[in-house]
């Protein structure tokens, strides 16, 4: 019973707790794996991978803002073939936590190729479809701002994927519910939300943008209220489970996301502030549940909008 207290079951993912890293903040697991046992986590989420190997944007690629940070990494990654050949076997050998691979691309064909390769590799339990990366010139964000394009992409990827597909939504839209509904209809198995908001910082002394890429993606506690609002809205309108993210730092933040309607959460920027953030959150959760008189984390999901008494 107690072991089950934090467990959450989602399509393709049997999570022993609802905590996982956010894509791009955890590379391919090795670095944090040197700090703690990754099997403590609900799942391991990999950095976005594309068809071809990419270097990404010039530096500086990150800068700080009030309670947040901007990043413009630009999808640096070794390409899906090397990922499958070199990185995944080692990762899967070392850890038992489910692995979620994050798929990015510039064309429909790219996405499909990458998704197919990853799904066929047998190493991953689910795919996360990054249709919301603000830091690349071609592809990325466009796929996530137009409901129709997002739906088409979802369909195509679903067609080649044997594992469940979670679509990662962009907050840089007028109507995120419309995008969520579109990908739900197109067959998505779940949603991840939110990716970063497009932001910018200018260096007063040089009078130029701080990031070499000019704009970047805003993450961290600053965006948490936006993430909570979007999950609150979307979870009431679609039936898909949501992996929530955006500024999570503490166990209370996790509970807030679950209450808003997320079924699990991902931690990104907070890993940079405290490299042991995720183990610390997992450790703190049971006590928080006790204080709230909650037996299982699943009881919290969507409770901020569900009529009292239902669970």
């Amino acid at each position: 019973m107690d072991a089950e207290r934090l467990a959450v079951n989602l399509p393709g993912l049997s999570l022993k707790n609802p905590i996982m890293p956010a894509s791009g903040c955890f590379a391919f697991g090795k670095e944090f794996g040197a700090l703690y046992d990754l099997d403590q986590l609900g799942a391991i989420v990999l950095k976005s991978v594309t068809r071809e190997s990419r270097f990404g944007n010039p530096t500086p690629r990150v800068t700080e803002t009030a309670s947040g940070m901007l990043n413009a990494i630009g999808l640096q990654n070794p390409g899906v073939d090397r990922l499958v050949a070199e990185v995944l076997p080692e990762l899967a050998r070392r850890h038992r936590a489910p692995i979620i691979a994050n798929v990015a691309g510039s064309t429909f064909e790219d996405y499909v190729y990458v998704a197919e390769r990853l799904s066929a590799s047998g190493f991953v339990s689910a795919l996360e479809l990054n249709i919301s990366c603000p830091n690349v010139k071609a592809g990325g964000l466009q796929f996530g701002t137009d409901p129709e394009i997002a739906a088409r992409l979802t369909e195509k990827v679903k067609a080649v994927s044997a594992v469940p597909v979670y679509v990662k939504l962009s907050p840089n839209v007028t109507d995120i519910v419309a995008v969520a509904k579109a990908v739900e209809e197109a067959g998505a198995d779940g949603l991840s939300m939110i990716n970063t908001l497009v932001g910018m910082r200018i260096d007063v002394k040089t009078m130029r943008p701080v990031l070499a890429n000019a704009t970047g993606g805003l993450s961290g506690p600053a965006i948490k209220p936006i993430a909570i609002r979007m999950i609150y809205e979307v979870s009431q309108k679609v039936k898909l489970p949501i992996i929530g993210m955006g500024g999570i730092r503490t166990a209370d933040d996790v509970i807030e996301f679950l209450l808003a309607g997320a079924s699990a959460v991902a931690v990104g920027t907070a890993n940079f502030v405290d490299p042991f953030a995720m183990p610390a959150i997992i450790k703190a959760l049971p006590e928080k549940l006790d204080a709230l008189n909650v037996r299982r984390v699943t009881e919290l999901i969507g409770r901020s909008w569900k009529p009292c008494g239902t669970a």
Partner: protein, 258 residues
């Protein structure tokens, strides 16, 4: 192994214009493996989100003490400057690879070149080289006399030349002027400072090895976020890279593009 620790401030003082020398104590100090490694400090009082990477300037494992020297510039380093003895400081480290100290035999000559706030990590390096019997020379460049620090400390280890841009102390000019002007000869060079200085040193090093320390804006300082990459020299794939935080911050000139 690296760790996160609440270390205790045991000393903090200004040693030059806006330059502070901060010493903390804790288990982490025992873990430092090589000069040139750095720590990632969270200046909580500043209310800033990210940590700040700062090189380790000296370390005493037995005493569990570690000293950093930094310039109070933005909100984070200003908050560090305001730390009082007894305060707790959230430190992550030690990080990075550090300078190699085993590439020179006893009796060989090491030229150690620092520019401004690049000087600190060179102190522990010089101490360790000197302890191995390497003959160390130092050329340290600063803007002006009031920016100079650690002159005596370096002088105690080996001959030390100071250069200032305005000539208000030591030689007027740049570190490269001193090296050329004095005709300094060496078996290997070690350097930390602004990129133009590093580039000039790389250009003048001839066939001698040059180990240099690079800086970049960092997120994780652990190798997980890809914020701090540099390109690899003569890379035909176009996608080869090194992470300054994890593969560096020390590289041999010729390895990476900077």
């Amino acid at each position: 192994m690296m760790r996160v620790e609440r270390m205790t401030v045991v000393a903090n003082r200004s040693i030059a214009r806006n330059i502070f020398e901060l010493t903390v104590t804790g288990e982490l100090a025992r873990r430092v493996q090589a000069p040139g490694q750095f720590v990632h400090i969270r200046p909580e009082a500043a209310g800033t989100l990210l940590r700040r990477p700062i090189s380790i300037c000296r370390v005493d494992g037995d005493q569990k003490r570690l000293t950093v020297v930094f310039r109070a510039e933005g909100s984070g380093t200003k908050a560090l400057a305001a730390c009082r003895v007894g305060d707790a400081l959230d430190v992550f480290g030690p990080l990075g690879n550090g300078f190699p100290t085993d590439r020179l035999a006893s009796g060989a000559h090491a030229l150690i070149v620092g520019g401004g706030i690049g000087v600190p990590p060179l102190y522990e390096l010089s101490k360790r080289l000197a302890a191995r019997g390497v003959a160390v020379m130092h050329v340290l460049g600063f803007r002006s006399a009031c920016d100079v620090f650690y002159e005596d400390a370096f002088s105690a280890l080996g001959p030390t030349w100071i250069a200032t841009e305005d000539g208000s102390r030591g030689f007027k000019g740049r570190v490269t002027d001193v090296i050329a002007g004095e005709g300094l000869r060496y078996d290997a060079m070690f350097a930390c400072g602004p990129r133009p200085m590093l580039q000039a040193l790389a250009a003048m090093r001839g066939d001698k090895p040059l180990f240099l320390s690079l800086e970049e804006r960092m997120g994780c300082a652990l190798g997980a976020c890809f914020a701090c990459v540099v390109r690899v020299k003569d890379d035909e794939t176009g996608t080869a890279y090194r992470k300054i935080c994890a593969d560096g911050p020390i590289f041999e000139a010729g390895e990476v593009v900077f």
